[in-house]
């Protein structure tokens, strides 16, 4: 269709940019490795085992994680914004992130309170993942149930924020009663980190993420009709309850698991859809969804490259970088266009 053609070029350009960012991301780090060595390690064979270790077991999974995180959070933010008819919606504002951290807090910090079975398994990453996903799913479900009673979209946002406060309060109470060791584990999770995933964990994250992405593809049509408002969407034959549920499941799979594996990542879920709308000038989800996917991955790779502080031994918390880099971008876009696209 003629309307999609002009976007295809931009999408392909973004795809190329993504590949470029991927290689730049891999070639930057605390140890500087010549480009030729990186290509030899990736595509050929190299005898240098420490090189191989740095690239294959550290930088490569980190780059993949960054792409999953950026695209997954971006898409979940996009779905939230359309479902809740609110440009401020996003995994963080609607309490999904707080739900996930509440789940993790209950497992890590509450282990001493609920001794027994939990104590045995609390250290495994899988428990964290399940707890975080369940936590985010429950919060989102509650927000949604409340949102069917309250028609005002602003009220829904405030309710989301209230849930965030409640989770934060429960987390403080739990941390008061927990040991220093448990507290440390929770605090480290809260900093957010892309580099802590093994190939095996990355594989599991990828599978759940793929489910979420496939589900989100199925929501494109309903998201587009929701742009008209719920009554119009219904008159177009859309089963609102079913679509809502699919959107919610997809969002909590994406945002929930990502948060579980890499910790809460601020800003990305809210900002990527806005940056994409400003660049593509459309609300058509058939274009927005792939564009958010690519831009999310690109921006996250860039943020991660900066967080590495190339050629130094320091690594900044990724959570800080996403906001430091991203927020000015959104402000700049809004000021330049003087108009918010939604």
């Amino acid at each position: 269709m003629q309307y999609q053609n002009k976007y295809t070029v931009t999408l392909i350009a973004l795809g190329i940019l993504l590949i470029l960012c991927f290689f730049v991301n891999i070639s930057l780090g605390s140890v500087s490795i010549p480009k030729s060595d990186i290509f030899n390690t990736l595509f050929g064979s190299t005898e240098n085992t420490s090189l191989k270790y740095i690239i294959v077991d550290y930088r490569l999974p980190k780059a993949f994680t960054a792409m999953i995180v950026g695209s997954g959070l971006g898409i979940s933010g996009l779905m939230m914004q359309t479902l809740f008819r609110n440009p401020l919606a996003g995994p963080f504002v609607l309490g999904i992130t707080s739900g996930a951290s509440l789940g993790v807090a209950i497992v890590t910090l509450g282990a001493s309170l609920f001794s027994g079975i939990l104590l045995v398994m609390f250290t495994t990453k899988w428990t964290l993942v399940i707890a975080a996903t369940l936590g985010s799913f429950l919060v989102l479900l509650t927000v949604l149930i409340v949102s069917t009673k309250v028609r005002d979209a602003m009220a829904i946002l405030i309710i989301g924020l209230m849930f965030g406060s409640i989770s934060a309060a429960v987390v403080s109470v739990l941390s008061y009663f927990s040991s220093a060791e448990e507290l440390q584990q929770f605090v480290f999770w809260g900093f957010g980190s892309l580099g802590s995933l093994s190939w095996q964990e990355l594989f599991i994250l990828f599978i759940i993420y793929s489910f979420g992405i496939i589900l989100s593809l199925g929501t494109i049509k309903s998201l587009n009709s929701l742009l008209l408002g719920e009554n119009y969407a219904k008159s177009l034959g859309l089963n609102i309850k079913k679509s809502r549920l699919i959107i919610i499941i997809s969002t909590s799979l994406l945002a929930g698991t990502i948060t579980a594996f890499v910790g809460p990542i601020a800003f990305i879920g809210l900002a990527i859809p806005h940056i994409t709308r400003q660049l593509f000038h459309t609300s058509n989800h058939k274009i927005l969804l792939p564009a958010v996917f690519l831009l999310g991955a690109i921006i996250m790779l860039i943020c991660d490259s900066i967080a590495q502080l190339p050629s130094s031994d320091y690594t900044l918390p990724i959570n800080a970088i996403t906001s430091l880099i991203g927020a000015p971008v959104v402000i700049w876009l809004l000021v330049r266009k003087r108009k918010m696209m939604f």
Binding site: M1, Y3, T82, R85, L217, G218, I220, K221, N224, S225, L226, L227, L228, G229, N231, Y232, K234, S235, L236, G237, L238, N239, R277, H281, T282, S283, N284, K286, M341, F342
Partner: protein, 264 residues
Amino acid sequence: MEVTNKHIVLNTENLSIGYTSKKEQTIIASDINIKLGQGELVGLVGANGIGKSTLLRTLTKVQDPIKGQVFINSIPLEKQNALDLAKTLSLVLTEKLISKNLTVFELIALGRQPYTNWLGSFSKTDIDMVYRAIRLINIESLKDKKCFELSDGQLQKVMIARALSQDTDLIILDEPTTHLDMYHKAYILKLLQKLAKETNKTILFSSHEIDLAIQLCDKMIVMTESQVVSDEPCNLISNGHFENLFPKDLIAFDEKTGSFRVKK
């Protein structure tokens, strides 16, 4: 009333409308028996708060009737699922669009959703139907504009085009002329008349433009506190139904001109 063999698109049987809350039922209007034939332009008029919206909501399955039944193409409304209904009934509502950041073409193309696959890809028929709707409403020049660039009158035309592209036997519009100036009120209603004739679709709209509706509609539904009557405008005038439409202290219906006059 003349006897016709027109295909009946929408009819109601002893319909009572209103709200059911936990404690009680509030009946707004009862014994509504209306019949809308194919290709008819029908205007629904009544004072504010008389229940026009409730009637439209009941006819469009947004809310359930208290008593009686609604039939579309002789099939009871409750037996039609959302998707089937979307292929026989399209709507133009008063509510604002969530996003105006779609092009006019994209917006009209959303009307094809009941026919497209899970990804919403368009077939050649879909594209043809969209262009047909654009031609019928005569908005070729707006096709590539964004919805936020349109005036209220243009946007209303686009929304009607969207309903047309849905290719349904029945189009129901809720107050399509509010917020429009006098010229555009007449323009939109005249457009609806043309569409009903040319496409043979049944078009039902609620409106406060009683004088315009009297001039343009094939049939009108008049809602008053005591009853809901539907007939041709001239019969409604001669039977004096418009006189009971409003409280009589301020305005009176003038049969000769078919409009309301302020009492001196």
